[in-house]
């Protein structure tokens, strides 16, 4: 197999600027801001949600509660896939989800199946007033009638390509890269 080819889509500065812009869009869209909670999808959605929360704090003076959601057990392909995916922790934001405006944060929006799973899981936890979706990257390949409300960057991708969001906590640096071939880590 050939070495996967990595092509930089966004560098650290571009990611930081995009996160700041997403935070502004979220603050503009959700009023009053106190009703808002962020929910990062395991794994890289969590680091992004924390950064967006930091930006929202610097805009409004108030940091929204942040939680994490692992959707593994709600995947629609769980019975079809091989040895089990590692299950991460789910931790709802302080204040719960009932009656709140939930902003679900993920790194890459692709087929829509992760979000479908997240919506199913959230409805087992309670009834938010509203659910919005924020992603750093939207790429081609949607398979369900679901689309994000806040998009950092749209990336055109061919079949067999993928988009990696790298975060310092897990990858040592912040960037977005387009990758041809190579196996995806989940």
């Amino acid at each position: 197999m050939t070495e996967p080819e990595r092509q930089l889509v966004m560098d650290e500065r571009a990611v930081a600027e995009t996160i700041a812009r997403l935070a502004r869009e979220i603050v503009d869209a959700i009023r009053p801001a106190e009703t808002m909670s962020l929910l990062g999808i395991q794994r890289r959605g969590i680091q992004l949600a924390e950064r967006i929360a930091d930006e929202i704090e610097s805009l409004t003076g108030e940091r929204p509660p942040v939680g994490s959601l692992d959707i593994t057990l709600y995947r629609d392909d769980l019975m079809a896939i091989g040895p089990r995916p590692v299950v991460g922790q789910t931790r709802l934001p302080a204040g719960g989800i009932d009656g709140r405006t939930m902003v679900v944060v993920d790194d890459v929006f692709y087929t829509g199946r992760t979000v479908r799973a997240a919506l199913d899981e959230l409805s087992d936890f309670g009834r938010p007033a509203r659910i919005l979706l924020c992603v750093l990257v939207e790429r081609t390949g949607r398979e369900l009638p679901i689309r994000p409300d806040f998009v950092g960057r749209f990336v055109e991708t061919a079949h067999g390509e993928r988009v990696d969001v790298l975060v310092p906590e897990l990858d040592g640096r912040m960037a977005v890269e387009r990758v041809t071939r190579g196996r995806e880590e989940t």
């Binding site: 692992d70 896939i81 091989g82 040895p83 089990r84 299950v87 931790r91 199946r113 992760t114």
Partner: protein
């Protein structure tokens, strides 16, 4: 994806033949499953449409209920079969019983049986996943896993932790599974009990032996106190229960004299005043109810891992975005 080296295969029969990585994978998988039992809706759709038979040839409340909760919280459909009131009492063999169940299209069997090796015997003859819930004196793997998870919750590690198993080691599948599992994860293991209730070759497993409970308490960080089955007295292994309590009982006085804070485990059901005093069982060092809570999470993890597909399909398991 969990590494292919930690794939459990079709069945969970015991810990003796598992690798440390496999055992660690089960314990690590149990962590996120703990939280599911704290949710308002204690259910995830992992085993939706799967049918699990709990086949119990020996009486059990805790283990059977724990498995049943684990199965239901994973959305499986479950059937309980107890030895009494089933065709088992009419002389049907184990394999016939299982084959009849298979003919009704089941996916997993959880088996508790008085004969050592029965779980393996069954697993080799049916295509369903088999989970050993205790077979004779052989193994009770999920009990040892929940014991290890409970210890790890409190000590943060298992490497180098000194665990002493107290009581009837000879007849205990819980002791056997604990010894294998703990040693593989790097714990130091000792046993303490009357010589009549220790296997003759116990040292060959790599465990230390204490004949006095005071010495065991002096050494250990964790005591796993086993139930003294009352029929052992009738069989002449111990003279009287009072004598057993006087010599081997885990009493408050003994625990208070320990040089460090002890962690006290007991797989239940307890004989209060025999192997363990109520003051200890209900005291600050006891994690006996934590064990019960962890039991559900460990069993959910085992069922989740076993129900997964074959490792050669791992390539397909790409993240769906």
């Amino acid at each position: 994806m969990i590494p292919v080296s930690t794939y459990l295969g079709k069945d969970l029969i015991g810990l003796q033949h598992l690798s440390s990585d496999q055992i660690r994978a089960i314990l690590d998988t149990a962590e996120p499953f703990k939280e599911i039992s704290e949710r308002p809706i204690k259910k995830v759709p992992v085993l939706r449409g799967k049918t699990i038979v709990n086949l119990f040839f020996e009486p059990s409340t805790r283990t059977r209920v724990s498995f049943e909760f684990a199965e239901k919280r994973l959305s499986a459909d479950t059937v309980n079969i107890a030895a009494t009131g089933s065709s088992v009492t009419k002389g049907e063999t184990l394999v016939d019983t299982a084959r009849n169940l298979e003919a009704m299209r089941i996916d997993m069997v959880v088996i508790r049986h008085g004969a050592s090796g029965s779980a393996r015997f069954l697993a080799d003859r049916i295509p369903s996943n088999v989970v050993n819930a205790g077979d004779g004196r052989h193994e009770h793997p999920t009990q040892a896993l929940l014991d290890m998870l409970t210890i790890r919750d409190h000590t943060r590690r298992l490497e180098g932790v000194r665990v002493c198993i107290v009581g009837d080691i000879l007849h205990s599948r819980v002791a056997r599974s604990n010894i294998w599992g703990l040693l593989k994860l790097g714990a130091e293991v000792a046993v303490c009990g009357p010589r009549s209730l220790l296997p003759a070759d116990i040292e060959s497993l790599g465990v230390a032996v204490f004949s006095r409970i005071e010495e065991a308490i002096e050494w250990a960080e964790v005591l796993n106190v086993l139930r003294l089955q009352l029929e052992r007295m009738q069989a002449g292994y111990v003279p009287t229960l009072r004598e057993y309590n006087r010599i081997f009982g885990v009493t408050r006085e003994r625990v208070e004299r320990a040089p460090r804070d002890l962690l006290i485990l007991h797989p239940g059901p307890m004989n209060r005043g025999v192997e363990i005093d109520s003051d200890v069982a209900d005291g600050p060092h006891s994690v006996i109810l934590n064990q019960v809570t962890n039991g559900v999470a460990v069993r959910m993890a085992v069922l989740y891992l076993l129900a997964g597909g074959a490792p050669e399909r791992a390539e397909e398991a790409k993240h769906g975005g």
